[in-house]
């Protein structure tokens, strides 16, 4: 079993660093960016310090982080646990490329929480099983079913991890100017070390600090971008609406000839069935999330867990209300003809640059990306670990 795991992992890294996954070099001059590097290191140190000072005394503290955290704190932890490179880079990139169609990602990843809370949570808690394979195995009285579901979960975790490692590779490429292949390995090393250190310390407190950093660094550049492009910048989440309208109809410097109505028209790039299928899949997938459902077993009062999910959804929504704004402003600058590199994968990072703003602003978004990635890796490692022990028990 152990050997299979080792082979799988080696194969994974060979694949990840192969040219098949190679992405646009974000830093072709190979320049070492001193300030981003320093910021990144100090941020990692900050998280480890938070971990040290809020060290969990026992298992219950580790999950519930004592009694003082409350529902909002728990919600923030859920949110930072949930948001990964996909929410952060992927969503804005997809909206930039596919326009209204990609809004189904925003809805899929939030609407699923309604299903989770209403249909899943109570049942799973009543059944008293900690993991999905356990539940399937007991529900259908079958060890084979349990093994199959464990294998499927491992497969899914691998696919999930690919996106995260790609994000890490891109970020280290951007900061240190080393090529993408090397970045994947170096980045993985740094993140693993961080996960090992912080994972042993208090998880919940760390997640809360991560969430606050993510939101601040995600929101700040947007105010500057909105005001630079001449939109309502006090609340850029609302201000970008006019940009969406201008992208489709022309206005604010965009002539009607270059306007791109396919950005906002609902069925300009895909059919209604595509939209429906994608959104439904994402919602059902969200409803089955192990690390959110996991909260329902560990919290002594189920009511607290439910309220944590509501606050968690709210905290996630803050970021998801914002992501389309990045996509729209980037699309707008693109139509305006502003020069600058466009990598749809890194649209959140490029957006400030595209709008003609200084580099330190894109640095902010880089930072929250780092936080996002390390946060989601902590949770995905945890999930992989749980599944692995599951499988070993079965075998």
């Amino acid at each position: 079993m152990k050997r299979i795991m080792q082979w799988g992992l080696s194969l994974f890294f060979v694949l990840m660093s192969s040219n098949a996954f190679a992405v646009t070099n974000l830093n072709p001059e190979g320049k070492f960016k001193v300030i981003p590097a320093l910021l990144m290191i100090s941020l990692l140190v900050l998280f480890v310090m938070v971990g040290v000072f809020s060290k969990a005394q026992n298992t219950e503290d580790y999950w519930a982080a004592g009694r003082g955290v409350g529902q909002i704190g728990g919600g923030m932890a859920i949110a930072s646990n949930w948001m990964s490179a996909a929410s952060y880079l992927g969503m804005a990139g997809l909206i930039y490329l596919k326009g209204y169609f990609a809004i189904s990602y925003v809805l899929g990843w939030t609407g699923g929480y309604v299903l989770l809370l209403v249909l899943m949570a109570g049942q799973v808690r009543r059944y008293g099983k900690y993991t999905a394979p356990d539940f399937v195995g007991d529900r259908y009285y079958s060890t084979t079913a349990r093994l199959m579901s464990a294998l499927i979960v491992i497969l899914i975790s691998f696919v999930y991890a690919i996106g995260q490692y790609k994000g890490i590779g891109m970020m280290f490429n951007w900061i240190f100017g080393i090529n993408y292949q090397t970045s994947v390995f170096v980045g993985t090393g740094v993140v693993l070390a961080y996960v090992l250190i912080s994972g042993m310390l208090g998880a919940t407190k760390n997640m809360q600090v991560q969430y606050v950093v993510i939101v601040i660094t995600f929101f700040l550049p947007l105010f500057f971008i909105a005001s630079k492009l001449g939109y309502f910048s006090a609340v850029p989440q609302i201000g970008y609406g006019a940009a969406v309208y201008d992208i489709g109809h022309g206005g604010n410097g965009i002539s009607a000839a270059v306007a791109d109505p396919s950005y906002y028209l609902p069925f300009a790039k895909y059919t209604m069935y595509h939209w429906f299928a994608l959104c439904m899949t994402l919602m059902l997938g969200t409803a089955g999330l192990p690390h959110v459902i996991g909260r329902f077993y560990v919290v002594p009062r189920v009511s607290d867990a439910r309220w944590q999910v509501v606050w968690g959804l709210f905290c996630i929504a803050l970021v998801y209300w914002t992501a389309p704004a990045y996509a729209s402003f980037a699309k707008f600058s693109n139509l305006l003809g502003t020069s600058g590199t466009i990598t749809p994968d890194a649209i959140v990072v490029n957006a400030a640059e595209l709008a003609g703003l200084p580099e330190w602003l894109s640095l902010l978004t880089q930072l929250s990306l780092l936080v996002c990635l390390s946060g989601s890796l902590v949770s995905s490692q945890l999930v992989v670990f749980l599944r692995r022990s599951q499988l070993l028990v079965v075998c």
């Binding site: 609407g111 249909l119 969406v244 489709g248």
Partner: protein, 114 residues
């Protein structure tokens, strides 16, 4: 051996479960129609003269309405209305649905001493 108890979502037993299931059904209905009903509505009211050509993954080329209608051309807070509805309002609605369910089930549990 323990006796198996048959619990079926569609055949609720007792007052607690009956009320709980009724509420759940309501919320799921709202959730479904707000998300997907709106999508179907967009398709239904779309201007039939405004068409686009699409190439599917299979290579097949289809012609369909682009979805242009009063829903997409009306501006609301600057947004095309459907964009605002999907990207902002629906997320808020999801939070509200979760909030309503939590309030409801807390009250129900208190009444039944759970």
């Amino acid at each position: 051996m323990e006796k198996d108890i048959n619990i079926n979502f569609f055949k609720p037993v007792g007052e607690f479960m009956t009320k709980d299931v009724a509420m759940k059904k309501k919320l799921i209905l709202i959730w479904f129609f707000a998300t997907y009903g709106f999508l179907f509505l967009l398709k239904m009211v779309a201007n039939p003269d405004d068409v686009v050509q699409l190439t599917l993954n299979t290579g097949e080329v289809i012609t369909q309405v682009s979805g242009k209608s009063f829903l997409t051309e009306t501006q609301f807070m600057g947004f095309p209305f459907h964009f605002w509805y999907s990207a902002q309002f629906l997320i808020g609605l999801f939070i509200f649905l979760c909030y309503v369910y939590c309030k409801f089930i807390d009250k129900l549990e208190a009444e039944h001493g759970k």
